[in-house]
């Protein structure tokens, strides 16, 4: 039983990070109907931003203090938000009226650019960094790492904040309007471009938070660290129903749990394969994802 709970907690922590990344995929898909493949690399840049911010400002803002860690995290999220906005403006916006395939290929190009520019600028060798000191908390037979608790807490706060923005603010309602229909939204006086920029900023900030939380639990970071978690988060978004925000969070957590349970079993070598096989099975029965609605194409 305690083994089960332990894997459950580990899976939840991993899934929370997948969820944070998956939200960015799903939100961008919601407003633009395309998959931003560079999103996984924003996650990587988020971790590196925190790494450099702690090196540069560590003297005034000790990364091991709560205040220092918070400010470094917020600054990294802001930096990635800006990066996301710039990428959309330079790479995707000029292709807005072209075929979706063009943007998709461009996104892969941006992804490769970030990965290899990262190797050039940050160096290809893994770097380690710590924000808060990590401590193990024992609850009965369970071992909880303090970093895992931070993952839970921060993910919960970010999800609630996102929910508030999307459901209860003017700009969030506009995001939902744009995701329903660009032209109808434009006729309301909504500037589509600024809503799209805002969506990229929001998604990228969440990915940065995910990158930092990931680095707190797996402290070696490198420019290719986003590839696999990014792929899994993309799958999580599809699993939950691409374009559906609660779906992305649910898909992420589900994927993390499955992965963690398989890793804890005697089939651990095949963890990724089994996790993906389960997802394929779910999608066979619910092709639009768990919370996704089937969209009927009108002719």
């Amino acid at each position: 039983m305690s083994e089960f709970l332990q894997q459950f907690l580990n899976g939840l922590a991993l899934g929370a990070i997948y969820a944070l990344i998956a939200l960015g995929y799903t939100m961008v898909y919601g407003v633009l109907r395309f998959i931003n493949f560079a999103h996984s690399d924003i996650f990587m840049v988020g971790a590196f931003a925190a790494y450099y911010f702690s090196n540069w400002f560590g003297r005034f803002l000790p990364p091991s203090s709560v205040l220092g860690a918070t400010i470094i995290t917020l600054a990294s999220m802001a930096a990635c938000a800006l990066l996301g906005v710039v990428i959309e403006k330079l790479a995707y916006r000029p292709l807005r009226d072209r075929s979706k395939l063009n943007v998709l290929i461009t996104a892969i190009g941006v992804s490769l650019f970030l990965e290899y520019a990262g190797q050039l600028w940050f160096g290809a060798d893994p770097k380690t960094f710590r924000l808060l000191p990590s401590q193990n908390v024992h609850v009965g037979d369970l071992v909880l790492n303090s970093n895992q608790l931070i993952v839970f807490g921060m993910t919960l706060i970010l999800l609630l904040a996102l929910r508030f923005i999307v459901m209860h603010t003017r700009i969030g309602t506009a995001m939902r309007a744009v995701s329903f229909n660009h032209q109808a939204a434009a006729l309301m006086g909504i500037n589509i471009d600024s809503i799209i920029s805002f969506t990229f900023a929001l998604g990228s900030a969440l990915a940065a938070a995910g990158g930092i939380l990931y680095a707190m639990n797996y402290p070696a970071i490198d420019p290719l660290m986003g590839v696999l978690p990014g792929l899994k988060a993309f799958v999580a978004a599809v699993l939950g129903g691409i374009g559906n925000i609660p779906g992305a969070a649910l898909g992420g957590v589900l994927l993390g749990l499955v992965e963690s349970f398989v890793r804890g079993s005697r089939f651990s070598t095949y963890a990724d394969a089994i996790a993906f096989a389960i997802l394929i099975l779910i999608l066979l029965f619910r092709p639009a994802g768990i919370l996704g609605k089937r969209v009927v194409e009108k002719v």
Partner: protein, 238 residues
Amino acid sequence: MNTLLEVQGLSVRYGVITALQSISFSIPKGAIVTLIGSNGAGKTTTLRAISGLQKSAGGEIRLEGTSITGLKPHELVRRGIAHVPEGRMVFANLTVQENLWMGAYLQRDRQAIRTTLDFVYATFPRLQEREKQLAGTLSGGEQQMLAIGRALMSRPRFLMLDEPSLGIAPILVKTIFAKIVEINRQQGITVLLVEQNANLALEVSSYGYVLETGRIILANESGKLRQDPQVRAAYLGG
């Protein structure tokens, strides 16, 4: 004549197909003007070009003498143009109330938004009954009311309606047209009405233009158009 909107030599092309071929017309302040014509004549294209959804290939559009050619849709909303598009396009994933708030997206004065909302609810009480419901669950007629109400939320001086009778129960069509006249009279909002139901359109409007394959072929007072043998034969069923 005090002109609100003036269109001069407007052309629109979709690739090699010419949808509008240098059409010109004007709309006096406070009037209801209608644009009639058969399917594919270019009625919807005309409205889309005025509201900025469709790029024009030539010509000029002026609102109270100022050129608004080439402005983006959201900039035109700011200048007082509201467009109820074909097929209504209500935000099905938003509640009725959220749809109306989106209509007031550029309005900053909360008190004024409240007043407009009260006016919309007074005009279409059905919307208030269903304010918490998702717009996608409304009937066609209710969605049309919502689309018009949402357009009114931007406090326009010029309202364009694209086929408000399309796919709506006949009994509701009468109600909706009565409301359009009421909005025009009480609020002083100028209306450009595009309709396939030419009979109805000519009944409520004061002036009409007949569009055929991208050209304006007739223009006259609505009463006279209804007597015109050509119009009677082609659009009013003889």
